[in-house]
Amino acid sequence: MPFEWFVALRYLREGRSQTVLIVSAVAIGVGVLVFLTALMNGLQENLLAKTLGSQAHIVVHPPDAQVRALHLDESNEVSFTRSEKPSQHAQSIGQYAQLLAAITAQPGVLAATPIVSGSAFVTRGAIQKSVTLRGIDLASFDRVVAISDKLHAGRFAITGTEILIGRELGQDLGVGVGDRVRVVSAENRSESFTVAGIFDLGSKDVNQRWVLTPLRAAQTLLDLAGAVSSLEVKVTPVFQAEEIAQRIARRTALVADSWMHTNPQLLLALQSQASSTNVMQFFVTITVALGIASVLIVSVVQKSREIGILRAVGTQANRVLRVFLIEGALVGFAGSIVGSGLGVGLAKLFVSLQRNADGSSMFPIAITWQILIAPIALATGVGIAAAVVPARRAARLDPAEAIRNG
């Protein structure tokens, strides 16, 4: 065993109660940190999932301009002309297949899907509801807005004249799977559909307004043959959506709005959560550092005669330095290992205590390896940093003085 480790480990064992106290202090700090980070991350993920559950990360749509040549990229490799529709739903995107391919090829883009959308009414007997008609390509749409696992009833399939509607809309209209409804578009075209499935996207508003039909049916109803209204994109990581949106906008000359752009208040909430986590982390770090430093300074003072003896028998100053750095690192490491366990335990306990009436957990908690490894690395590093001052003091002790005065 290296000499420094031998001495450091023995000193920690010797100062048992001091070691236990400081390791506990580090553990409590790290435990609180892990617990709160898990809670914050859980809340953030929950908030993001709620908001982005039904919303694409980026919506690409035509600019307000009139007929214009659009390029896919600077080299003009692919260009096309958008067909101009002088109706109220004005702009649309023609020949979207190449665009979809180009957008999908962008780094960070997971999936993209074409959407045809416009206002419409759904009627069932005497009841009439104003809705947003969304023509979708089911397979790619599911990759952008995971909807197949949010199906409340029926099948996840739409062909010909089948539609998917939200839970609340179904209740409002009094229809279920297999029932027929009539959709009348703002263009005054109408078509009869069979309800194939009922979805629940977790938002009452969306569940009330969205009517999902096959792309072709929506194109007919909205008089958009061969064109789509927008392209919707899913990206990773979600916080890079704005950057990716700007890149898409530059390359396609279309308008690309990220969720961050359309939900500034959500972004602000997430950012302030993140910065409150940082502030907390900062203070916990300072506290841990001061705790370790003070214990080690006391230890160096108590041991100064022994350090003098070590130096007298031929121990190099840098070995003495390392003894105390190792002590700091070990205290930080041990404390953070215990603290991580404490934090996870606390989080689990919290989740089990805070339950909704239906037994589902009220606070989602996200425990990942990162939120454990980061504090362990941090506390170990802080332990070493906190040990620098006491370790240097120990290494610089004048051996003759130290032996004489203790």
């Binding site: 065993m1 290296p2 000499f3 031998f6 023995r10 000193y11 064992r13 010797e14 005669r305 022994e306 003896i309 070590l310 130096r311 007298a312 028998v313 031929g314 121990t315 190099q316 100053a317 070995r319 004048d398 051996p399 003759a400 032996i403 004489r404």
Partner: protein, 243 residues
């Protein structure tokens, strides 16, 4: 005459600054020769410990030089001094200064561990042999804090010998012991000196112990006032006989 192990030349040591400056050693010159058991005596405050610290490379003189094995140490940096100290010098202090967190055996081997930079069980045999030579084999694995004063000082003596030093500097090693333990420790010094040829410089207040050494150096107010070898011409009056 045996070869010099350690030499101090015109060593001056002053403490403090400005008006508070006091000179503790006034130009000491002394040669310690191989195989000698020498006593350094003198009244309290005469500078014995200060001189021993300088000879032990634990402190630097204000002026003058310390030569070890003929080599001037004045220009050496802390790293080189530490290495030289660990390999060629051993220390015994008035208080044993064992490290309580370690066993007797580990304390004995501490200089060897420090020199190698690692703890090596291959050294255990040497440590046990040293403990046997001070009669403490059965205490090897006891914690240093469980030893009696006399036992601890014998362990400290074994520790001083761990790296087979050319010179052991002992500052009042018996000053804190009862007569019986003091006699045991002094007996060991004499035996090591005779059987192994280890060189010792011993500070003592006990004139009867000093009288049993090969040589007595007397320090008064930071000056060597007498340096007498048994059976040789003295610089000061006095006769020496074994008791």
């Amino acid at each position: 005459m045996a070869e010099p192990v350690l030499e101090v030349r015109h060593v001056v040591r002053e403490f403090g600054e400005g008006d508070a400056r006091t000179r503790v050693l006034h130009g000491i010159s002394l040669t310690v020769r191989s195989g000698e058991l020498s006593a350094l005596v003198g009244p309290s405050g005469s500078g014995k410990s200060t001189l021993l610290n300088i000879m032990g490379l634990l402190d630097r003189p204000s002026s003058g030089a310390v030569l070890i094995g003929g080599r001037d140490t004045t220009q050496l940096d802390d790293r080189a001094l530490t290495e030289l100290r660990g390999r060629t010098l051993g220390f015994v202090f008035q208080f044993h200064h064992l490290m309580p967190a370690f066993s007797a055996l580990e304390n004995v081997l501490m200089p060897a561990y420090a020199d190698r930079g690692r703890v090596d069980s291959k050294l255990d045999a040497r440590g046990l042999q040293l403990l046997a030579s001070v009669g403490l084999t059965e205490r090897a694995h006891h914690s240093a804090r469980d030893l009696s004063g006399g036992e601890a000082q014998r362990v400290a003596l074994a520790r001083a010998l761990a790296n087979e030093p050319a010179l052991v500097l002992a500052d009042e090693p018996t000053g804190n012991l009862d007569t019986h333990s003091a006699e045991a420790v002094f007996g060991l010094l004499r035996r090591f000196c005779k059987e192994r040829g280890t060189t010792f410089l011993l500070v003592t207040h006990d004139s009867r112990l000093a009288a049993r050494c090969d040589r007595i150096v007397t320090l008064v107010d930071g000056r060597v006032v007498s340096d007498a070898r048994r059976g040789a011409a003295d610089t000061a009056p006095g006769t020496f006989s074994e008791t």
